[in-house]
């Protein structure tokens, strides 16, 4: 089969009239090279038009990328001082800051999120993430352990070597940062597969990696379909660790793949159906504001979206009214318009899936309280949608919708709320709204979730670990905890002859 090809640099136009030049080739060994996989069209979800095509990686390309990462690790990267690693990562942050508008435009056109959100949340978050982990590079300490007078015992926290990463389309640059930053700080080389739905911003980022001065092969960025490119990367025997963010279904496949290849270490950030508990003694206005952000941020396309809300009965009506006001105030429209809060869903596939959940919700007897339809007739826009009178066993209460759809149920006492919240296969995040100090601690202690927000939701900080319980995955991103995911511990025991 002859591979269709095209030049690396393509010119694209955003719907705001901007012209941008983008890279479309695979980034391997600090060069943009044509891939041997099929050319993939990437679609603008606002206009439903093809932005351009990009090269994707075949198994052969994946192998080339892994070899490049391996060789660079062995011969160059492992000999670079920790402080110098930190300097390079900081340089990358500086370059992202310089080019933030261009990067934000690419996110807005390819993913559909509002330009201002892309710049002020996603990219600002990336810059902070790189600067945070740059500071860890020269602070990865082993310990000296006192065992007995005739021994010298110490541990080393060593790099793993080649790290593979597969990231999703919902926060393209930020999901990349959460893996690149700690992996590089800890001294690893990387091969990352971006989502074929949103490949453009990462290829621009690749150019910054080269400009920052990283040695060739330390960072490699490719894209492709999960079942071709992703599968080849997950099964590669020279990859020491796989970091994956995406669906639970794919997460299982990656785990299987590790078990049949080289038992590579794994980190999985999977789905969620996170519960937000609103107690009668909560500041309801504050709760409504944060709970709405908790589900509608990023158009509901967040693994930690607070997509189930349990309100204490006595305040249910009041809360639902306040919450719906928040939903109504959300401006849905073109990502490049200043007033837009919410852009389109990322693709037709996602759009169809969400609309079908909305249908199921109504069929199963939940009350469609607000929204529920498409917005406009061009682009994958869905109105913020509120279901009430939901029961915990309904499909829209159990399955991850990944759209701007919330399911609201009620509870009588806090113990019941905890049980309802925990009665789910997922355990990524949760929220609790209360003005009572003891309730706040009791509930957050009891919830089976990796992140618990109290009187807020979706507040992230690069120094705070994030990662789920149960089938939301395992391993932590961000914070000092992330370093453990990207290092391996060696114990050295010396017997001293006195």
């Amino acid at each position: 089969m002859t591979a269709e090809t095209q030049a690396d640099i393509q010119t694209i136009k955003t719907q705001s009239g901007q012209t941008l030049k983008v890279h479309t080739h695979l980034f391997i060994n600090n060069e943009f090279v044509a891939g041997h996989g099929p050319l993939i069209e990437t679609v603008n979800p606002t206009t439903e038009e093809v932005i351009c095509k990009v090269h994707s990686a075949s198994e052969e390309d994946v192998d080339a990328a892994v070899q490049a990462a391996y060789t660079s690790y062995k011969n160059v990267w492992s000999k670079v001082t920790p402080a110098d690693r930190g300097i390079l990562i900081n340089k990358l942050a500086d370059l992202m800051e310089r080019d933030q508008d261009e990067l934000a435009s690419l996110e807005a056109i390819d993913n559909g999120k509002a330009f201002s959100v892309a710049r002020d949340d996603d990219i600002a978050g990336c810059i902070g993430c790189y600067r945070y982990f740059a500071g860890w590079a020269d602070k990865i300490h082993g310990k000296v352990i006192d065992t007995s007078p005739d021994q010298l015992v110490y541990t080393r926290h060593e790099a793993l070597g080649v790290v593979g990463a597969i990231i999703p389309w919902n926060y393209p640059l930020m999901m990349a940062a959460w893996k690149f930053a700690p992996a590089l700080a800890a001294g690893n080389s990387i091969v990352m597969k971006t989502s074929e739905l949103t490949p453009l911003s990462a290829y621009k980022f690749a150019a910054l990696v080269k400009e920052a001065g990283f040695p060739a092969g330390v960072v490699n960025i490719i894209t492709g379909y999960g079942h071709i490119t992703g599968s080849a990367l997950a099964g590669h025997r020279k990859v020491s660790k796989m970091a994956f963010t995406g669906s639970t279904v794919t997460g299982r496949r990656i785990m299987e793949s590790s078990s049949t290849s080289n038992l590579k270490k794994l980190q999985l950030e999977l789905g969620g159906k996170s519960a937000q508990i609103v107690c009668a003694d909560a500041d309801l206005k504050n709760a409504a504001k944060h709970a709405a952000a908790g589900i509608f941020n990023n158009h509901g396309q967040s693994c930690n979206a607070g997509s189930r809300i349990f309100v204490q009965e006595s305040v249910a009506k009041e809360f639902i009214d306040l919450f719906t006001e928040q939903a109504k105030a959300i401006v849905v429209g073109c990502p490049f318009k200043d007033e837009t809060n919410q852009g389109p869903q990322v693709s037709k596939g996602q759009f169809d899936k969400i609309m079908s959940y909305i249908k199921i919700g109504q069929e199963e007897g939940a009350t469609l309280h607000f929204g529920g339809e498409r917005v406009g007739d061009k682009g994958y826009f869905i109105s913020p949608t509120v279901f009430t009178n939901c029961k915990n066993d309904m499909t829209i209460m159990r399955e991850e919708i990944f759209g701007p759809v919330v399911a609201i149920g009620t509870f009588t006492n806090v113990e019941e709320a905890i049980e309802l919240a925990n009665d789910n296969e997922y355990g990524l995040a949760a929220g609790v709204y209360t003005s009572n100090h003891s309730t706040a601690i009791k509930v957050s202690n009891a919830l089976l979730a990796g992140s618990v927000w109290v009187n807020c939701y979706d507040l992230f900080n690069n120094s705070v670990p994030f990662g789920g319980y149960k089938q939301s995955g395992f391993g932590k991103e961000l914070g000092k905890y992330a370093l453990l995911e990207y290092t391996q511990v060696k114990s050295v025991i010396t017997l001293v002859d006195f």
Partner: protein, 484 residues
């Protein structure tokens, strides 16, 4: 020379402004004994103004600044220091007499490394959460508030930065007193701090004599922590001042009389070169100087011969010349003191194997000096000379070496030269000092803890350890069901 000096800031740096002091101090170039300029010195009024500015800045601005913003300001300052590195190096060489080759490759290079290292800690300060029966304890690591630092003249900018870095990273504001002998490079750094965007009052840099300005800072009631690097004599006064004022926390980095132990299985060529660095770096004006060398009997004669030859080669002269390795002592006072010790050594019967006199007839240059035939109880073996004077002695075996090494009230550093694993590990375990170098000496970096045992002081600078010096621990204990 003139161009560099016209760029030098004058004044006391308080609240992001350069202001005049209560008096002036002559700043002398030790290469030729001539006055460079007169620096403003801080009296009670200025010390109060600086502390007040630091206090106000902490309460109103700095304590409300996010860790990541602190980090970014520090990174910016590191970039600016790197930009003006050569200028800072020249100022320090003129002011303190350290050869330019070292102010370039050691001091000023360290500044941005140190700042970047500690900028990286700013957003990583973490207390623990400890759960016990009925109680949930949140341990907070909070800044102290206003910290004072007294910086000596041997590494004027480097030692300023080892204190600024962690103090700023942990969220404190600072009043630093540079040495009146070498006040100039700190003022250049002050100007860069303002350019980097530090809010007024966060960093304040003043100068003055220890007995006046230093004393005022040590006793100030609004200063809650003081870090001092300098002589043991002055360190005692700082500690006393704290006891008599407000019990401010104290870190002391004092003197040393560090042993350099060379075993017969050492690589002798390398040991000779390192030994040179150990005692003659910055003309012996380093607290960690390996000023007592103990050589194993069997290689003693060979070592002395090679060492004398190697030391004899070091180019002495104008520190601004690229090729100079050995410059002048930092001041007349220091010069007189070292010459006094050389005299004492001669009087007490030690042999001058090399040097033992002034070099040239301009400036405060002293020849690299080697004493042999020394006894453990001689003045030159017991007291810190702080000059280019080393005492070399011999030992029979490992046990004797350890005993001799530990025979001191000081305990700052030590060095061991041997290719045998057991020797290295055993000796490093037995020596009573805060730093033990193996097959090297006077190797510094910002990531590892630095500080002494015994009379060399307490507290650690550098690495993660220093963070504890600039934070205070608060345990917040929440009742989770404990009965009354």
């Amino acid at each position: 020379f003139t161009k560099t000096l016209t760029a030098v800031q004058r004044g006391l740096f308080i609240n992001n402004e350069f202001v005049s002091g209560s008096s002036q101090i002559k700043v002398v170039n030790p290469s030729n004994g001539k006055v460079i300029l007169e620096a403003e010195a801080a009296g009670k009024e200025e010390v109060d103004a600086a502390v007040f500015a630091a206090d106000k800045a902490y309460k109103e601005v700095w304590s409300k600044t996010t860790p990541s913003h602190r980090r970014d300001l520090m990174l910016r300052l590191a970039d600016l220091i790197e930009r003006d590195q050569e200028e800072i190096a020249q100022i320090e060489t003129i002011d303190g007499g350290k050869p330019i080759t070292f102010t370039r490759s050691v001091d000023t290079k360290f500044l941005s490394e140190c700042l970047r290292y500690f900028a990286g800690w700013a957003d990583k300060l973490q207390g623990k959460v400890i759960e016990t029966e009925g109680v949930l304890t949140m341990v907070r690591h909070e800044p102290i508030g206003v910290c004072a630092a007294i910086v000596p003249w041997n590494f004027p900018s480097l030692l300023l930065m080892t204190k600024l870095g962690p103090a700023l990273a942990t969220g404190n504001t600072i009043v630093a007193k540079s040495s009146e002998i070498t006040p100039l490079s700190a003022l250049k750094i002050a100007a860069l701090a303002k350019e980097a965007g530090f809010p007024p009052g966060v960093i304040n840099i003043i100068t003055g004599y220890g007995e006046t300005t230093g004393e005022l800072l040590s006793r100030h009631k609004a200063v809650r922590k003081i870090t001092f690097t300098g002589s043991t004599r002055a360190g005692r006064l700082v500690m006393k001042a704290s006891a008599e004022s407000n019990m401010k926390k104290v870190t002391l980095e004092l003197g040393g009389k560090s042993p350099n132990i060379i075993f017969e299985d050492a690589d002798i060529d390398k040991a000779v070169k390192w030994a040179y660095r150990g005692i003659y770096f910055h003309q012996g004006q380093v607290c960690t100087s390996g000023s007592r060398i103990y050589v194993q009997e069997s290689i003693y004669d060979d070592f002395i011969k090679r060492f004398k030859e190697y030391v004899g080669y070091a180019p002495i002269g104008n520190p601004l010349a690229d090729s100079t390795i050995h410059g002048p002592q930092a001041s007349k006072t220091q010069y007189d003191r070292v010459m006094g010790y050389i005299e004492a050594g001669k009087q007490e019967g030690a042999t001058v194997a090399l040097g033992g006199a002034r070099w040239g007839n301009e400036g405060y240059f002293i020849q690299p000096t080697i004493f042999t035939d020394v006894k453990e109880d001689m003045t030159i073996m017991k007291e810190e000379i702080f000059g280019p004077v080393v005492c070399v002695s011999k030992f029979k075996d490992r046990d004797e070496a350890i005993q001799l090494a530990n025979n001191s009230d000081y305990g700052l550093a030590a060095a061991v030269f041997s290719q045998n694993l057991d020797t290295c590990l055993d000796v490093s375990e037995q020596i009573q000092s805060g730093i033990v170098w193996i097959n090297c000496i006077n190797m510094f970096d910002t990531a590892t803890p630095f500080g002494g045992y015994k009379g060399s002081g307490f507290g650690r600078e550098g690495g993660e350890y220093v963070l504890a010096e600039y934070t205070q621990v608060k345990a917040v204990k929440i009742n989770r069901g404990a009965p009354v």
